[in-house]
């Protein structure tokens, strides 16, 4: 009865009401993942569950039993170096207060994988063929589950564009 978080196994909390978010922040001290609305409206709590982005506030920790969780703390290199997307966020001023940033970054990393896989989005013109590429319109639609109340969205999109542009196709 464990959950793998950033490569280490932790027991599932005995109280079944504990959300994955509360487990991360309150029990494990992994406070990089943020508590925003706690009702699935803001995306600040986004983490990767078996590689796919989910909201940790609406996930009960018990639902993640036997699964693999990656949080913002798990993104840095072994030497403590920043993930390329973290560097791009700094470079492009993709934040002001920074509260939504860990969620934005986790979300964007999973989004890159969805794009590579050819998953369509609401704005994909040709459903059967899939997305034409990481256009601004595609990025904005795919990132709509992550709100930024400072209004740093332009910088966020630019940082993501840089990451996607630098990736091998």
């Amino acid at each position: 009865m464990t959950i793998t978080i950033n490569g280490s196994d932790y027991p599932v909390p005995l109280d079944s009401r504990v959300s994955l978010l509360d487990m991360l922040r309150e029990r494990l001290g992994l406070t990089g993942t943020k508590l925003g609305c706690n009702q699935g409206a803001c995306g600040a709590c986004t983490v990767l569950l078996d590689g796919e982005r989910v909201l940790s506030c609406l996930t009960l920790a018990a639902q993640a039993e036997g699964r693999d969780v990656l949080t913002i703390e798990g993104l840095q290199g072994a030497d403590g170096s920043l993930h390329p997307l973290q560097k791009a966020f700094i470079e492009h001023d993709g934040l002001q207060c920074g509260y939504c940033t860990p969620g934005q970054i986790c979300s964007a990393i999973a989004m890159a994988r969805e794009l590579r896989r050819g998953d369509p989005s609401h704005v994909t013109a040709n459903l059967a063929a899939g997305p034409e590429g990481p256009t601004r319109e595609e990025i904005r639609e795919r990132m709509s589950g992550n709100l930024c109340r400072c209004g740093a969205h332009n910088g966020i999109v630019e940082a993501i564009e840089e990451m996607l542009g630098g990736e091998p196709a």
Partner: protein, 329 residues
């Protein structure tokens, strides 16, 4: 949230036996239920996790598709057979919620989700007949921009929030159920019920029953030449004011088959059978599309805050059908 026990169902039999206990609730992705429990709108003594049950698509001999109830919304939307044969379903799913929520939410859970009427959620501050029968409805004289224009009652004007279900209604999908008395299927369009005097009753699901699969009928040309258009207050990550799932087959200029369902207008996904019937055999023109939409909406009963939905629904139906007729021509 009150203390509860959590069980993971390893198969359907286990889900049914654990789910039969008093106070037990099935949980799929939990994107709605966890919130409802936290707000004390709902309560449960036991949660039975059914998210690890059937989550694939099986093609049946006649060409129908059986979609496991635990399949994630994102996986269903991206599935090549759904994108190719039932584009309105992929489009509806992709218009719903956010990428994170679509990754969590299951097909069965999407169908079972509850209204987002703000008064339904406001346990301490508002009256709601759905939450507490016979207590009154604060939406009636309150903020009702998002509420029903069709099929409402004096007791309740809440809408069903699903996008997916609107496409499923237009596709005449079947809901497969299993329960203590065996298995049965119910058309999706008849699965949710109108509020009448008992808005706390939302579906025909019986005690101890669970959704096991959705059956998509073999694709017809009108299912494949199909679209979903959602009108909302912001361009992404918002519930529908009005949405239209529609499919059209035009043969030699005349409408052979029209499939239309509306979202955001009623307590259930609203299959526009009157409009569909009115269109059969007619030339595929904008005037005919508007007249058929008008026909469907003659019984609309808008509230103070949502009278705009009648015209919005009429124009959106016509616009979607026009676009489908154009693509065919």
């Amino acid at each position: 949230m009150t203390p509860l026990a959590f069980h993971v169902a390893r198969d359907r039999a286990e889900a049914l036996s654990l789910g039969a206990a008093n106070g037990a609730r099935l949980i799929g992705g939990g994107t709605n239920l966890v919130d409802l429990l936290r707000q004390n709108v709902e309560s449960a003594s036991d949660l039975v996790d059914v998210s690890r049950l059937a989550a694939n698509i099986q093609e049946v001999d006649n060409g129908a598709l059986l979609v496991g109830a635990s399949m994630k919304n994102s996986a269903l939307a991206a599935h090549p057979m759904v994108r190719g044969r039932y584009p309105m379903l992929s489009r509806a799913l992709l218009a719903g919620a956010s990428a994170q929520i679509r990754n969590m939410a299951t097909v069965g859970g999407n169908i079972m989700q509850r209204t987002r009427c703000p008064y339904f959620y406001d346990v301490d501050g508002a009256r709601c007949n759905k939450r507490q029968p016979d207590s009154g409805c604060d939406a009636m004289g309150g903020f009702n921009r998002y509420h029903a224009i069709l099929g409402g009652s004096n007791a309740c004007v809440a809408t069903h929030p699903s996008d997916m279900c609107v496409a499923l209604a237009a596709l005449a999908a079947l809901v497969h159920l299993a329960g203590p008395e065996g298995e049965r299927t119910v058309p999706l369009a008849e699965f949710h019920v109108l509020p009448g005097a008992n808005p706390q009753v939302e579906t025909v699901l019986r005690n101890g029953e669970m959704i096991t699969a959705i059956e998509l009928p073999p694709a017809t040309p009108a299912m494949t030449n199909s679209e979903y258009r959602k009108v909302r207050d912001r361009s992404s990550y918002a519930f529908a004011l009005v949405s239209v799932a529609a499919g059209l087959e035009v043969v030699e200029g005349k409408i052979a088959e029209a499939r239309i369902a509306l979202g955001g207008v009623a307590a259930k996904p609203w299959r526009a059978t009157r409009a569909e019937a009115a269109l059969r055999g007619l030339p595929a023109t904008r005037a005919n599309f508007l007249a058929a939409a008008e026909e469907e909406l003659t019984k609309a009963q808008p509230l103070e805050g949502n009278a705009f939905k009648v015209g919005l629904a009429r124009r959106t139906i016509a616009a979607v059908l026009e676009s489908l007729a154009g693509e065919r021509a």
